[in-house]
Structures are given as C-alpha cells and as structure tokens.
Symmetry: D2
Subunit: 391 residues, 4 copies
C-alpha cells in the first residue's frame, strides 16, 4: 500500500532480519530497528546483540526474540541461522567499526545479505577484501550512508544528473557537531569512548564518524568523485587520540573544486551536515537539520524552495516520501528509506525477479571509496598537508 | 530498550490492533499504521479497511492480514474479535468523521480500546454521548490530536505549567494550508472530496479538519480553555459547501486573550501550524514545520533555541524523543508518540498495574471540547460574528 | 546621480527643512534627521526642538543650527521662517501625538510643507479638520508611515495591483513588540512615558503607536480598506492607562477577511511587523525584521524569494533601492525613502513642474483613516467587542 | 546628539571632504557619499570624479559641488585643495584598485587624510610603500573594510577578546556571490569590466574583490592572523583573466585552523559573507545578509540570539548603533560607521585632542596584510597548492 510514494509493507512477506550489535545502551542499533520496522518490510528474529552475555540475553528478550535465536557471537549466529529453514535472510551489523569486517564476511559466506553501518571497515585493505567477498558471495551488501536517502537529497541528485545545474563547478560540504568539544570520552560516555579509541574506530576519528558521511553525500549528489585531495586533520582536545576536526580540499578531474569540513568541536552545531553544489546554470543548497527543504536557484532567477512532496519535487523524492508536504519527515524516515530500498532489492533476489531499476542504496563500493578517502586524508595530513591522489 | 528517552518495544507483548478504514487510497490510515509499528508496541492483525469489498480484501492482503480477519464491516469485526481469545485489544478508527461514532461505540461496548482520529464526531451531541459510552465501558479512548505529542510541544507545555512564562496573557495560534485554494473536491481527489462534504465531515470544513487541531494545541500548551469566542467562518472557493478559512477571537477567564486562524486557501502554506504563547515573564514560539525547535525568550534576555534533545530540553521532551539532537524527528514520530503513550496505558490496563503518571494523550474529553469549539464557532459566525459562551 | 534606483542629491538644491521636536533624548527626531540627510535632498536649517529652553538651544547647537533659527515655539518659528527669503520650505513634526495638529496647522497656514509623524492627531475630529487645512493650504503633507517605503513593500503592492495574487481573500497583519511587557512608563523612560499617557498619546496606546502602522501597511499593500471591524483591546500591565495588546477582525466589501494583532507585551518580539496577503492565485509574506526579502508563492508552484534588487524585483522596488542585492538596506533607508519621495514632490512644487507620477507617500488621508481605525476599535472594544462600520 | 549609541553630527564642524572617483555610473562612490552624509560628520566640497571630463563636470554639478572644485585630476586637486584655507581635510578614494596608490600618496603628502577603498593597492610592494608614506605623513589613513563596522561584528570581536569563546580553534569564513557566473565583463557592465581586468584590479580577481574582505573580517573578529596558508584559485568562466573562486586553508600559530572560501560564481548567493568562530568554550555565527543577528552558543547551553541593540549586546555594538533593536540597520549604516569612526579620529587630530580609545577602523596595516594575503594565495596556487608562509 502506498502513501505519497513510499511503499508500505508487501503482503505476507517481511524479510527475516538478524542483528549484530545494538544491545542495551547502544545508539545506532535502535535506529536500525526503527528503520527496519517503519514500513513493515522486515521482522527482527535473531541477534548477537552484545558481547556481554547477560546484556545480550536481556536485550534479546526486550526485543521479543526467542532465547534460542539470541546468539553468543556472530559466528555461531551465521552458522545456525544459515542452517534453519526459517533462518534470517539479512543481517544488520551495527557494531563499532572494527567489528564490521568479521561479521560481514561470516554472514555473506553463509549466504545472508548484509546491511552494515559505516565506515565499512577500519582499513582500506580490509575494505577491498570485503568488496571481493561481496562479489564472490552474490549477496546484497547495503552500507547505511543514511543521509543519501533523504528525499531532497534524491531530488538534488536527480537535478544534477539531469543537468539542471549545468556543469558542476563548486562543491561545498560540511558536517559540524559539537558534542566532543570537551573530552567526553573520558567521562564514561560509551558512544564517545569507542569513537575516540583507535582500536575500535580505526585510524580516523571525526573523519570516519562523520567526514565519510559528508564525503559520500557530496559524491552521491554531485555525481563526481575527486581525483586528488589535500587534508588537514586536527585534534583540539588535549589527550584525544584521534582527529576531531578535518579540513579537506578536493580536486575533480572535470575541473570542479570542493571543500569539505567536518568537526566535532564546533559549539552550536548539533548535526550540521550541509551540502551546497554550484554549477554553470544554477545552485542547490540543503541542510540535514531541515531535510524537507531544498533551495534551488537557477542562475539569474529567484531562489526557490522545493519541498519534499511539494510542487516541483520529482519522482525520486516521491519514492522516498510517506506523507504530504509540510508534514516533516526526518532522520528515521531517511534511514528507513535505506531499509526500504534494501527490502525491495532483497525481495527481487528472493523472488528471482529483476530488481527495480529505481532502487538506489550505498553499497560496498561506497565503503571502499570511504576508506580510500580516510586513508588519503591521513596520508595528506601526516605529510604536512600535501596533495594526494585517490586511486 | 531505550534510545534517548522513548521506550522501544516491550518484549513479547505487542498489543493486538485492528483498524477500521485506511484501505487503499486513504491517507491517514497509513500514518496510523506507521505510528503503530514504529516503536514495536502494536501488531496489526485485523481490519475492516474499506466499505468496498474488493478493496477491503486487497488492502488486507497487502497488509499481511489473514483473510478471516478482514471483515466486511466494523460491527462484524467488533463481534468476532471480541469473541476470539487472540482478538484485538485495541482498534484504530481512521474513517471520515461521520464514521467515528458508530465504530467507536461498537468496539468500546465490545470491550476493546479505541484510538480514533479527530474530530471526534460530527456533532457535539454525539460527542457527549460517546463520552458517556467511554466512561461506562471502562476502556481507554485515545484521540489522535497528534501534534500534542511533538517533543517540543511537551516541553512548551511543561514550561508553561512550571510558570516559566509567568501569567499567560496572549495566545496566538494558526494553522495555514493552501491545498484547497482551488476546488480540488470537484476533481476527484478523495481526500478533498469527503472533507468538503457536510455529510461526511459534519458542519465544519476547515474548522473541523485543522481548526480543531489548532484549538486543541493552544489549550494543551497554555493550559487554558476559553470561556467565550467569536468566529468568522468564510468560504472563498465558489460552490464549496463548507468553510475554508476561519478567524476566531478567544477570551479566557484569566483575562488572557487569544487569536486563532485556520485556512486551507493560503497559497504558500503547506502545513503551517504555528503556536505562540506570551506571558508576563517570557514567550514561546513553535512551528510544526520545524518541530524540533522551540524558541524561548525570558523577558529582557536573549532569545534562545531549545532543541528536542539538546541543552535545556527537559524530561517531557526526552520521553517523546528517540534520537539525539540535530537528527530531526518529524510528523510520524509525533504520531507514533501518541501510539506509544496509548500502548503504555493499554499495557498497564492489561497487566492491572497502575498507569505511568507521565503518560499523556488526548482523550474523549478533548474530542468533546473540539466539537463544542466547532459548534460555538458556527453559531457565532452564523449570527453575524457575535460572542458565544463555551459552557 | 543614481545608484541602483534611488536618486541621490539633485545638484545645488537641497530643500530647506525645519524641525519641531526631536531635541536631546528624543528618538524619532534623530531618525527623521538621518532620513532627511541620507540622500542629500534636505538641509536642516531651523528648529523648535524642545519645550525646555536650555535643551532646545543645546540641541540646536549640536545640530549646527544658527542660534537665531532655534525658536522657542513652533508658532514663532512658523511666522519667522515664513518671513525669511531663505526660510524653510518644509517642516518635520516629530513631537508626541498631541502636538501634531497645532504645528501642522501653523506651518501649513504659513505656506510651508509638512512632514509629520503618525498617528496624525489624537482624535478623528482633529484629523478631519487637519485634512481640510491641508486641502485649503495647497501645500504638501507627508505622513511618515515609513514602513510603506520599504522596497519589498512597494514590490508587494505592485504585484497585488497587477493581479499577480488574483482576488485577495485573506490579509494577516501583525505588529508584535515586547518592550512594554513590564511597566516601563513608571521607570522614567521618556519614550514609554508619553506613549502610555492618554494626554499625550490620545485614547490609543499600542493601537496608535504600532497598530496604525500595521493597519496602514495592510491597506497599502492589499489595496483594500475594510468596511467594518471588530476589536478587542487589552491592557495587561497593571496600572497602565492605555491598551498594550489589540486584536482586530477586518471585513472588506470584496468579501476578503483580515486579522490584525498588535502587542507591546509579547516577549521575544523586537519590532515584529509582519504582513501576509493571500489571494486566489498566490500568496505574499513579508517581515519587517528581514525587509529585503519578499516570499512569493504562485499557487501550485514553488515558493520563491524575491530580494530587493534581485531577480524579479520590479521598478517599484528599484526606485526605493540604493545598493545591490545582498547588501541589506534597513529601517533608516526605508524612512529615507519617504523623505526622498517627499523631496521629489516638493521640488516639483517648487519648480512648478508636474510631479513624477511614480512618487508615492502616505498623506493626510492616511492619517484620517488611521484615526478612524483607532476610534472604531475603541468603540468596538468599549461596547464589548461588536462590529463597527468604517464609514 | 545620540540615538542609541552612535553620535550624530557634532555642531558646526562637519569635516570637509573631497572624492576621487565615484562619478556617474560608478557604484562604490555613491555608497561612500551616503556613508559620509548619514550622520552629518562630513560635507562633500570637492572632487575629481571621473577621468572623462564631461562626466566629471556633470557629476560634480549633480552633487552640488562648485565648478571650481571639480578637478581634472587628483594631482591638481591635491595641490589646489591643500592651498585653500577652506580646502578639504580628507579625501575619499573610490577608484578601481590600480588608482589607489597614486592619489593616496598625493593627498597624504599634501597633508590631507585619506579614506580609501580596498584592496589597498595592486601589489604588496606598493602597499608597503604606501604604509611608509602614511607613517611619514602623520595623517590618518582609513581603509574601508566596511564589514568590520557592523555592530554585531564589533560585538563578536569583543566577545572573542574577552575570552567568552575560550581558546579559538576553528575559523570558518566564506564570501559567496553569483553575479559573475557568466562572463558579465564581456557585456559592457562597468563594474564587472574593471574587476575582471588585471590592469585595473591587480593580479587578483575574486580574491581581491571579496576574498580580502573575508580574510580581513576573520582576523578582525578572531584576533588571529595566520602564519601560513594554502590556496586553490580557480577560474571557471571561460576566457576570464582572473580567478572567480578561491579556496584557502589557514594555519594559525596558536594551533587554530581556518578555511576561507570566496566565490563569484555560486548561483543563489547575493552577498553571502558569513563568519563562524569556534572555541573551546563556545561558538559564534554571523551572516552579512542578516547583519543585526549574532548567534552565540556557550558550549553545553542553548543557542542564543544576540541582536544589535537587544539584550546582551554590549558597548561595542551600541557605539555602532543608531536605532532600537528590531529596526534593521544594514550595509550603508555599517559603511557609515567607518566614516563616523574616521570623523572622530579626524576631529581629534584637528583639535589636537587625544583620540577616543574606543575608535576602531581598518588602516593601512590592514591593507598591507590584505595584499600579503593575495600574493601568498597566488603564489600557493601558482605552485600547485602548497603551503606558503605569511611573513
């Protein structure tokens, strides 16, 4: 059934989903579950929710899982679920970064689709290895760069692709937060702790956590990937082990130029992801905190406001939309759009039907590009701020 | 499990829900279903989704209902479900206004909780009768004045209640839309059709559809109900049978004064519900299209921005919140908050435990007040714009 | 010489200006002087600046006036200046309301043009008498409803007049301030003191000070004058002698409807004059605190932003404009536009040439309409909130 | 006389001003004249307004200058005015960049104060030479980096200086326009023509025209000057001779980091100068197109809005302010503040009294820094985007 554009649950056939990570006290696991539930496309039936056995079990019960499908570890889960006739069809991996690769490999090799949080892995080498595993597995791999599924981001991407902006000249992307302005990771905050720990986050702090979102989004909308970059990574909070502010210059082979700024120490910014794309014929501006609005200026004309389901919003926005214009959809709906796209692809795979060509979601290739970005930035910055090729 | 504040699904025990109305082509039914699903508190198991038999059946299948729990009419459904050991515990009534009373009565008398769309009924007399039925039934009745469950509305209400604004002096509320600027009801648009038809909507058009939301919200936040009002109802579109623009002056017994404007013919407004409350010590401003932001000015100080899960947001906002500040929650989350509040109350009723005193939702009393408002406005306007007492 | 649109000083011939009121400690007098100076059209050469002799003299010196052209009272000034070959050609009257009529009459009868602050007088009878005096004098009378001279207000007016909005249906105007939230008039604040004093302000408080601006602006842009109104005047601050919050419903003979709210007790509002006009084909929205922006929505299309000297701004806006788009012009420029319009008319009168037909400024007729509005509101409110005809 | 904070004209003593450039068809000359007139501190009495003799004379007449004080060239003007007892005390130089140095030198050496548009000169060498001339002359030199005189910029600077933000970590400044998105310089547009012509602009296009404003403003508010930078200058419009988009990374010796973006090819941006400064204890955000508003977030608290003459605005903002909060002051008032500061300094020089220590304006040193910035950026970019030391 359809409201506005987004399909609601397809009869009788929610996809059986498992989850790795996301136990009590986690953040992103809950987001994935809401996203999975929202449109009725998935049903959560199994999990390895925490490495702490008691928390794992308690979390499973809170979520209504049968005890026998709450597993001690992801390996046992992959094996057991693969063996069940009613086993999971897909798994959501919502662990810290260092625990993406292992589970992803295990489930793919067990013939189970994977939905995985970003960044893909902690190293580019691992990312590339995982890409190979995905290819060999023949299973679907969905990377939750959730911001790409905001309706107005789809609208923007479509407008750029149609040439409405002319030749793209300038890409400005930023992602500013303030929650790590002080050393929160030393106060017992779980979310801050693992993000600030190189063992769990990988070599990037802010760059991995939010910089990759900004990078991915800029590429998704502009349709351009830089050929080289120059980065300045900073750590402003004393004693912090990873970067908390990054500045990057981007050069595209088309001659376009870009700037990327991400910070977790910018007081007054909650989740300030903002993208601006300028071309020879027009400009687009979007901010994540007002996601239902896209500002478009055809050069020489008045700036105009395109709203999610309002006048001038096209098919790509409509597909991502559930309710009429003026009824704000937000972060969770955006996230749910990734799940809905995944569901559509997974159902086609299940049914052996051709996938809907409109279905679009970030995949392992985006994950490899993200790690390439992180490593190039770290190299550039480490060498004093020099230009580094991508590829 | 809890993210930020809002509880996620309580283990093993979603509430069994039925739905009356909401078949293919409807709008608000889909919203109710998303709201019911989002936090995992409900599971939809039965329905009388459409008076068109074929559409009813098809809709049920799309939603994954068993054929034997898709009923031809609400009466049959109430009877059959009440008789099943696994029958529905609650029903969502999402039909046009004239079909609220009958189903509500039937399910309440069958011992089933009711979640009902607004306005409650098409006449005040019916509304009062229904209030009596609710009282006698001992069942819960939840009216989906969904805007009251936005986190920042809860925050605003709490601040007023705590006296942060001092004595309330002025209430300004408006709800502006533009979708009925032209005679859409004569183009085959289903949503416009029934809303513009007195037989299905009752005697109010814009006033019932959105005016009651504005009225309810103003009362919810300010804690004040007017003692008299004066209204000017207009119909700007030729041939339209009901009002499409209303202006109301409100007098409160405390000496406070209010203005309410609702319009469906104001081009440039999508869903412009906006509330401002001013007191002797400060002012609050909120707009539905940016629901995560509440503007607060303590008199003589700087205006400040309170965000959903940001600094200064209190427990009432937190209870309504799922994700951190800067990750926008929207209309569907607000709606889901009503369902979550309802679920909490229904579980307490099921378990025989005392209800959580923090749980707050609009009930049949709000519905009666809404109809009293509608009828007073119609009387005032019909008599040339005179002051009319409320009670 | 012209920048953007607004003419700069015309060679060799600034208009000789006098001022009544506006001595040290006054507010609006200084605004008038800046407005008179900004484009070089006027030169201030005489004044009766204060009823306090010492302050009068000191103020004159600070402003660079010759001592012999600083007069003890307006009557002496009118007589002496009329007798000088180099006497003033125009006078700016910037006294409290009760001191508008006397000076205006004296200067008009002395053959001197008058620029006068609003509201015109303290009673409608006086206003009408003054209108007769103006007519008999053959001199120009300019009422400084300064907000009518913002470029985007001219743009809005032109768009309405051209029918861009179709038939006007709804006018929403408000003017909210907060500076009188507490009894400032009892703390020695001069500005608050006279405004709260019926002897100097007349029978209206908030309604005269800012309500008339809102009323005038709505009429200026919409091109409509109401045929009847209903008002609710309130005084929220204990002991205050005049209204500090007003609510008005407006009925136009065309069937259009309007609401006007003005308040000086709405914390968080500095100078919140805001106008919205909706018609059968589109809507316009403007706020004084962002005066360079006009929001326009053609029904069924995207909202668009018209900026002062940007794309789509027409000749009427350009005439009021000095610098390119994006270089904000503000309150003082708007005020100066009134002076520039006045200068153009005065030069034409001086030269005996036909006035520029584009020149537009509020005149004594607007002042009479303003007093009619005030008295009708007071009558309506005094009789319990009834409908009162406006002529 | 004082309104709010800004002094109005000091009695009897406007400063006699001349102007070089600014004849018919120019833009910035008119801005300087309005700025000079607004507060009554200057009187324009002489000029060499255009190199075109006829236009020069006509322009002089339009401005009300005596024919004998309209000079064929700046050299003649400097000599003649220096010789007159009533000669000019100051000159405003409002010519294209390549004509700043010559006139500035001539007037300084003739003992006349100089107010000069930016950038100071076309080369750093010339800028340094001019700094020496200023020092030797003992005269005042005022560079019209007008944006530094917006009240909220003064407020921001004061807050940073007082440590309200803690240690400054991140400076984000941008200046985006769109008017050169197409090759306007080849259409006869005078403003575009000289700016795009290296002979008249110097080696920088966008960087000199607006980049220097952004750079200067960032330094003015943050109190920090970078020790090195890396720049990427681009020219997107085919055939254009100078840069139209620049990206710069800034390193400060304190460890702070900055990004600067300036563009004249970003459709949808009119005059988008925007500054954000983040420190260990708070953040500030300001945008030129809404100049009366400064957003301040003390870390961990709510974002708050400081307005020009509103609660929490301090003495530095008040000195730059003419009218109460909510009555927007704009670009011309900001520009006039530079003139008012200059007037204060010039009067003190005239009277031999000590200058007011609060008086602050950009001077020749800022001009030298601006040229150092331009040349460093050009060097950096020319060498492929490398880090370049500033001094």
């Amino acid at each position: 059934m359809t409201i506005e554009g987004r399909d609601e649950t397809a009869a009788g056939s929610p996809i059986r989903l498992g989850m790795v990570g996301g136990g009590q006290g986690a953040f992103i696991g809950g987001v994935h579950r809401i996203a999975a539930r929202m449109d009725g496309h998935f049903t959560l039936v199994a999990g390895a929710l925490s490495s702490d056995a008691a928390r794992n079990r308690a979390s499973g019960r809170e979520l209504g899982l049968s005890d026998d499908r709450v597993y001690d570890d992801f390996a046992a889960m992959a094996e057991a679920e693969a063996a069940r006739p009613d086993g999971i069809e897909a798994v959501a991996i919502v662990t810290p970064n260092h625990l993406h690769f292992g589970p992803a490999k295990a489930f793919l090799e067990a013939g189970i689709h994977v939905i995985c949080d970003k960044p893909l892995t902690t190293t580019l080498a691992e990312a590339r290895e995982l890409a190979g595993i995905v290819a060999r597995s023949g299973k679907l791999f969905v990377l939750t760069h959730n911001y790409t599924a905001y309706p107005m981001i789809r609208q923007a991407r479509a407008m750029v692709a149609e040439g409405v902006l002319g030749d793209i000249r300038v890409v400005q992307v930023e992602y500013a937060q303030d929650w790590l302005t002080e050393p929160l990771e030393r106060t017992g905050n779980k979310q801050a702790e693992w993000r600030a720990d190189p063992k769990r986050s990988g070599a990037g702090g802010c760059i991995g956590d939010i910089g990759t979102h900004a990078y991915n989004l800029a590429g998704f909308v502009s349709g351009l990937m830089p050929e080289s970059l120059l980065a300045e990574l900073s750590t402003f909070v004393e004693g912090r082990l990873l970067d908390d502010n990054i500045e990057v210059l981007l050069r595209y082979s088309t001659g376009a130029r870009g700037m990327l700024w991400a910070s977790q120490v910018a007081p007054g910014n909650e989740n300030g992801l903002r993208l601006r794309v300028y071309g020879s014929r027009g400009g687009l501006e979007w901010a994540q905190e007002e996601p239902n609005r896209l500002w478009f200026t055809p050069f020489g004309e008045q700036k105009r406001l395109i709203t999610r389901a309002g006048a001038g919003a096209g098919a790509e926005a409509a597909r991502m939309s559930r309710v009429p214009a003026g009824h704000p959809e937000g972060y969770l709906e955006g996230f749910a759009n990734i799940y809905a796209e995944a569901a559509s692809a997974m159902r086609a795979a299940r049914d052996g039907t051709p996938p809907d060509p409109a279905v679009t979601y970030p995949t392992v290739g985006d994950g490899v590009a993200g790690l390439a970005f992180i490593e190039a930035c770290i190299e550039s910055s480490g060498k004093g701020g020099i230009w580094v090729s991508l590829e």
